[in-house]
């Protein structure tokens, strides 16, 4: 025991505290500086990627406008006319929350969707963002947005093999979005 003390020089608690304080102060300062520089760039990038993903969903739109009293809702306009709504959709999939953007015409037809974040099984559930599952939604109305496993049923959405839960979740999110848009557009 006494030997250990001889090796370890005694330090006052004050010295130790000063050491930690200086480290933390310097750390905070550096992070603050870097954030000051990168934050505007990151925000700009996010805005651009948002615009781009909306553009990819509604390719003939020339302008996107935020809907005033709905958070994260956008209207896609072409020559001043509203041709589509781009709204966020959400539901629980196989591996957790699935977040997506859905583009819907004012008459309540699905144009396309984009999955923003998901935790589905790679190779099975994550095929939801790929063909041929995705293109099935094009032009579908609320009534036909149900998942079927019957291959002869051409009106509804064909489930992905091995990923029925993911298929249902995506379809439900799209359906809810369509429902909301129909209500919103119809009520105007």
């Amino acid at each position: 025991m006494s030997n250990e003390h001889a090796i370890n020089k005694e330090y006052s608690i004050f010295q130790i505290a000063i050491n930690l304080i200086i480290t933390c102060l310097a750390s905070g300062l550096i992070i603050g500086l870097v954030y000051y520089v990168t934050a505007p760039i990151a925000a700009e990038k996010r805005e651009i990627s948002k615009q781009e993903s909306m553009k990819a969903l509604v390719s003939d739109a020339d302008n996107f406008k935020a809907v005033p009293d709905k958070a994260d809702w956008f209207t896609a306009e072409k020559g001043g006319k509203v041709i589509a709504y781009v709204v966020p959709g959400e539901s629980r999939g196989y591996g957790g929350e699935i977040k997506m953007l859905v583009a819907i015409t004012p008459t309540g037809e699905v144009i396309d969707y984009k999955i923003l974040a998901h935790n589905e099984t790679p190779g099975l559930g994550d095929n939801a963002s790929k063909e041929p599952f995705r293109s099935q939604f094009k032009g579908k109305k609320e009534a036909n947005l149900t998942v079927t496993k019957d291959a002869s049923d051409k009106d509804d959405i064909q489930a992905m093999t091995g990923a029925t839960i993911s298929s249902r979740a995506v379809t439900l999110a799209v359906k809810n979005a369509v429902h909301e848009v129909t209500e919103f557009a119809g009520g105007k």
């Binding site: 050491n19 934050a39 099975l124």
Partner: protein, 207 residues
């Protein structure tokens, strides 16, 4: 000069963080499903470990040995946060692909180990080489795992299709389990190679 090279090169093979020390396997399983993710992760870790080694070495006489671990962790956390902020500004897609594993770099055993074992006792330049070598070894391992996984699991490399549509990709290569099996085989192969080399050496000295 030879000594310096040795400090650098031991991280590449003899003490490769993944294949030899079996450290940081968790991100090695999680983010190596595509080459670009594996490579970005490798480069981030290289940057963090190199700059952390430099900072630790610079401050080795100032830091109180009683609180050295919290101080080192603060250093690492600061550097990782800086990397994250930069990555968010440069490429948000990569940032979201790496997700939680980028935060986890803070607690990578290999980084703290290099700070403790090497940088806190050595001058700045050797510490830099040590960190850089370890980082390169890590990147090399991540790269080789992710190349094999992406090729077998999706039939592509860096997103370019290499194998045609006839190739029915086995799902397991994309899943973490596939990575685990693959790493096992790779470690096995390396061990086999080493044993082979060793045997040859003994044979040579006897002859």
């Amino acid at each position: 000069m030879k000594e310096k090279w040795k400090i650098f090169s031991k991280g590449l093979y003899d003490e490769n963080p993944i294949f030899m020390l079996c450290l940081s396997l968790c991100p090695a399983l999680a983010v190596t499903s595509s080459v670009i993710n594996g490579l970005t992760m490798g480069l981030c870790v290289t940057f963090v470990i190199t700059s952390n080694n430099v900072v630790v070495s610079l401050t080795r006489k100032l830091v109180n040995p009683k609180v050295r671990v919290p101080v080192y962790i603060t250093f690492i956390a600061t550097i990782v946060t800086v990397v994250e902020l930069a990555l968010q500004a440069i490429s948000p897609e990569l940032y979201s692909a790496l997700g939680i594993y980028l935060d986890l770099v803070v607690v990578f055993a290999i980084i703290l180990a290099r700070a403790e074992v090497f940088a806190s006792k050595n001058k700045v330049f050797p510490s830099f080489l040590d960190g850089f070598g370890m980082g390169c070894g890590f990147t090399l391992a991540m790269l080789s795992i992710s190349v094999i996984r992406e090729l077998l699991g999706s039939g592509s490399i860096l997103g370019f299709k290499i194998l045609g549509s006839w190739y029915n990709a086995p799902l397991i290569m994309i899943l973490p389990a596939g990575a685990f099996i693959l790493i096992g085989y790779m470690i096995g192969a390396i061990k086999l190679h080493n044993a082979h080399k060793e045997a040859k050496k003994i044979e040579g000295s006897e002859a």
